[in-house]
Amino acid sequence: MRGLAEMKRSLSGSFFRGLIILSSVFLLLTLVLLLFAESIRNVEDRKNALLLANQIFSTLSGSFYPEVGVYDSSAVSGGVQYGIRRTVSEVSPGIREMHIYVGRNDGSNRIELVRKYYDLENRNL
């Protein structure tokens, strides 16, 4: 009888120690996940931003020739609102360069892409 009681006490002690260790592991893993959640979110943002920028460039192709200026707009992707800025400058007569910046509205996780456009309507410039 005495031996059984001692064993129960010993097992109960191990159970609590095990629980504490497992809780510590769980907390540690949660902490690690929290640490990387920001990185995952950043990658997700950049992925969506790239998708939006790609869509914009695919519609602005062919004989399209942009007007010089700065154009701001926004779009929602994956439930998140993204700010889009297009800056068009003339690098030489008949050649314009368009930079597209897409990222979170607060300016974070912004990707930048650039393309040149040529004025095919007014040649021999």
Binding site: R2, S14, R115
Partner: protein, 479 residues
């Protein structure tokens, strides 16, 4: 005592049990492995994202480079195809190396009607109105420039039972407008069709109208207007929202027409009495005297009248007993020439000089049985022979039959050189710049790189058509 001994054996050091240590070790291992896997995964995702962003920029740099090459080729900035400049953008460079060259025939674009047979194709500026049968009705589509893949249906008449119809077109306030003149149950209607405003029909009472009547469309005070002429020097003028019809007259040997930018050749004050001595069956507008402004050429069966827009001078040429068979710009010097037949077969060519029309030898290199309108370039001449549109090439001395004359029209859809539109059943074909002869196809390898790292390689086919003054370039990725 035995129990107590075993229990003591399960403890080490300061009273921590062996299972607890094992659990702690395994847990630590799980945490470490998870951490390593997570770090690897995250860094992999970040690297892949970075590579994806770079590949998109590589693609944009390459596309920009090809567009730049296109521009340089159009402007004839590249004299030597083995020395193509390097194009830079976004910190990346794209270079081109020639793989091969070959000749390609003039570019042909085709468009198939959603209806059945194409009845008519009418070029208006850089647009083409296409009328086709649609079950029991009529369908009208609009093609914009050479972008044949994006046609627009502008009108569908489900039940169309017109006994007779004629069409004319013009650009009014920047928008292409089609006039459809029909006779249904003995009554005449003018239908104005526009992609901007749809269609409007007006019942008109015409004193004359048959299939050989001449129609000319234009714009008066911002409103679409239509001239209907029997070929004499008088015409009926219809203006949208303004009835009845007005009478317009012009000098004998001409007929009232619209020309240039909504200008009317003719007067509405009755300056000229009706004169049917020189019936006109065709009017041509071009810069025949090469002074930078379009002139008018009135073609009759026995008369040819030239009206210079710049000077306003009017030259009428007739040959007693002669029939006018062919006319247009011929030879390298682009001389306005006309082919007449005197009696039954005596051929005589007359050319426009500063003193008026004078006898000439005719097209030196192409002494064929031309009929109707002629047009020339440095090496080729296009016209009609025995009911077919023919291109005669001076270099190869070949005659190339293109299509039937009946369903063909020459126009300037793309640039300043003539293009040919023709239809066959439900197919419309645009032959771009046929007078420029064959084009050249360049096969180029593009390499996009950053410092010494090659990021992308592609093969491009660059098609170059036209001459040094009007060059057209098309490109596509070959592989």
């Amino acid at each position: 005592m035995k129990y107590s001994k075993e229990t003591k054996n399960r403890k080490i050091g300061s009273g921590v049990s062996i299972p607890a240590v094992t659990l702690a070790v395994f847990s630590s291992a799980v945490v470490m492995i998870s951490l390593v896997l997570l770090v690897n995964y995250i860094s992999g995702v970040v690297d892949r994202q970075a590579a994806l962003e770079e590949s998109v920029q590589v693609q944009l740099t390459e596309e920009s480079a090809v567009a730049g090459l296109n521009m340089d080729l159009m402007n004839s900035n590249i004299r030597d195809f083995s020395d193509i400049p390097v194009y830079s953008l976004g910190g990346l460079d794209t270079s081109f190396r020639m793989v091969g060259t070959s000749a390609v025939p003039p570019l042909e674009l085709t468009w198939r009607s959603q209806g059945s047979r194409i009845l008519s194709a009418l070029p208006v500026g850089k647009n083409i109105f296409v009328l086709s049968e649609y079950d029991n009705g009529l369908r009208i589509d609009l093609l914009t420039g050479t972008d044949v893949e994006n046609s627009v249906e502008v009108l569908l008449i489900p039940e169309w039972n017109a006994e007779q119809y004629s069409i004319a077109g013009s650009s009014c306030s920047g928008s292409p407008v089609l006039f459809l003149l029909t006779r249904t149950l003995g009554r005449e209607y003018v239908t104005i069709v526009s992609p901007e405003t749809g269609s409007e029909s007006y019942n008109v009472s015409l004193p004359f109208w048959n299939e050989s009547s001449l129609l000319s469309a234009g714009c008066i005070g911002g409103k679409p207007a239509l001239l209907i002429s029997e070929g004499t020097n008088q015409a009926q003028l219809f203006i949208q929202d303004s009835l009845p019809l007005l009478t317009v007259s012009s000098p004998p040997g001409t007929t009232p027409v619209f020309y240039g930018q909504d200008q009317l050749y003719g007067s509405m004050d009755g300056s000229y009495t009706e004169n049917g001595k020189y019936p006109i069956y065709s009017v041509l507008q071009d810069d025949f005297d090469e002074n930078g402004s379009d002139d008018l050429l009135f073609i009759g069966s026995g008369s040819l009248s030239f009206v210079s827009e710049a000077s306003g001078s009017f030259i009428l040429d007739t040959l007693p007993g002669g029939r006018l068979l062919a006319w247009g710009l011929t030879e390298r010097d682009m001389i306005l020439s006309a082919k007449w037949i005197e009696g039954t077969s005596h051929e005589r060519w007359r050319a426009l000089t500063e003193e008026g029309f004078a006898d000439s030898a005719g097209p030196e290199f192409h002494p064929f049985n031309w009929e109707g309108r002629l047009a020339s370039s440095r090496n080729s001449i296009i016209g009609s022979i025995d009911g077919s549109i023919i291109i005669a090439d001076e270099n190869s001395e070949k005659l190339i039959t293109v299509c039937n004359t009946q369903n063909a029209v020459l126009c300037e859809l793309d640039g300043e050189d003539l293009d040919l539109i023709y239809t066959d059943n439900d197919l419309l074909t645009i032959l771009l710049n046929p007078l420029d002869g064959d084009g050249l196809i360049l096969t180029l390898r593009s390499v996009t790189y950053n410092d010494d790292t090659i990021l992308s390689e592609n093969i491009w086919n660059i098609q170059i058509y036209g001459n040094i003054h009007n060059r057209r370039v098309q490109y596509e990725r070959a592989g």
